[in-house]
Amino acid sequence: MSPNGQAQGDRLIVDSARAGDASALSELYTLYFPRVYRYILARTGNTYDAEDLAEEVFMRVLEAIERFQWREAPFSAWLFRIAHNAVISQRRKETARGRSSQLSEGLAVNSQGPDELVENRLALTDIREAAEKLPEAQRQVIALRFAAGLSVAETARTMGKGEGNVKVIQHKAIVKLREMMGQARPAKVYESETAR
C-alpha cells in the first residue's frame, strides 16, 4: 500500500475507533500492537517489559484517543510518543529499583525453531548491546525506524525533529552500529538477499 493509501486507511480506522467502534479498535490493535511491542523490546531488551508496557500503552491510547487531533501529528507519531513515555517511565522505575534491563530467556520469536530462536536471540542481544552505547537520539531512531517500522517522516514527527535531521542521525547510528557489531562478532554473510 502506498504511504498515502496507508494514511487514508489509518484515518478511517482511527476515526471509527475514536467513535468507540469495537471492530476499528480491534483493527487498530492488530495493526499496531506488534510494532509497539518491537519498539519497546528494542528499547528495553526485555520481553516481559515489552509485553507489559505494550499493553499499558494501549490502555493509555484508550484514555487519550478522544483528544487526538490529526492536525497535530500522524496517529503513528502520537502512538509512539506514548510508547516512548512509557519506556522512559519504566526506565526511571528500574533505576529507582536498581534493576538492569536484559534480554529475557523466554524471548519469543514468531514461528522459529530452537536453533533459529537462539540465533535470533543472539543477534538481538548483539544489536541491543550495541544500540545501548549509542546516544539517545540515535537509539530512538533505530528503534522507531527498524523495530517499529516507521517512515522517516513519521520518525521525525514522533521525535519532534526535521526529516533531514533524522536521516543524518540514522546514518550516524548505522555507522556506529556497524563498527560495534563488527567488533562483537564476524559480519554475517549475505548472499543473494532479496527484498521482503
Partner: protein, 293 residues
Amino acid sequence: MKARRLDEVLDECLSAYLEGRRSVDESLSLYPALRNELEPLLWTAVEVADTFSESSPPEHVAEHGREEFLTSASVRQRAKLLTYDLNFGQRLGELARRRRRLLIVAAFAIGLAVAGTIAARLEITPDETSQEAASVPSPLTPVVGGLRDAQQQLWRRANQGVDVAPEMILALARTTTVLDSEVTDFSALDSQARLELERAIADQYLLLHLIANTQSAPTAPEARRALGVTQQVAQSWGIDLPQVPPAASASPASAVDGTAPSQPSSPTPSPSPGNETPSGDAATPQSDANSSP
C-alpha cells in the same frame, strides 16, 4: 555535501528495502559511485531491521492484551453513554420541574375555581373534592434526586480520569441505603417511580464497576463495598442489573474479605490539550533527545 548525499541515498535505499520495493543489490546497482560506502551500511541496517522484524509478541500475550483493551473500551463507552443520559436527564428534569411548578399553580387555581363552582352546585364541601386533586410529588423524589446528583458528580470525575474521593462513594452508598429504607414495598410503587428507581440503581451499578476497575485504593475497595450495597438493594427490590463485561466486573465479596480483584492497568491521564500524550511523565521526545549524551 557528499556526506549529506550519502545520508539521503542510504535512507532512500533503506526505505525501498523496508517497503519491499527493491533488494539491497538492486539499490547498490543504482548508485555505483557510492557502492563502497553504501554497501556495508546497508547490510548492517538490513540485519538490524530483519532481526527486529523476526521478534513478535507471543500470541497469547497479544490476545490477552486485545481482550483487556476491548473490555476497557466497552466499559468506557458505556460510561460515556450513561454520562450523556444523566446530563440529558438532568436538563430534562430541570425543564420539567420549572414547567411542573407553573402547571401546579395553574392547576391549583383552576381547580379551586372549578371545585368552588361544582361544590356550590352539588352542595358538597371543597374538602371532599380536594382529595381527588392532582397527584402529589412522590416522597422518594428528593432522595432519588440526591442519588442522581451524587452519581453525576462521580461519572464526571471517573470519566475525566480525575481521582474520586472514597468519601464520595461512601456518601453514595449511604444515600442508597436511605432510599432503600424509604421504599417499604417496591412493587406497590407506581410504574413511573419503579422505572425511575430501576434506572438509578442500574446506572449506579455500572458506575461503581467503572470506578472499581479504574481507580486505585482506597477508592476502588470502597466502590466494591458500594457495589455490594447496590446489589443488595437491587435484589430486595427484584431489579435485574445490567450485564458487565467479565474483565470489568469486580466482586463485592472480594472487598469484604480484603482480597482486591485484578485491575486492568489504566493509569490516570493528565488533562492535556491537543495531542499531548497521556503520561504523567514530564519526558517528551524533545526533552529526551536534549538529555542524550
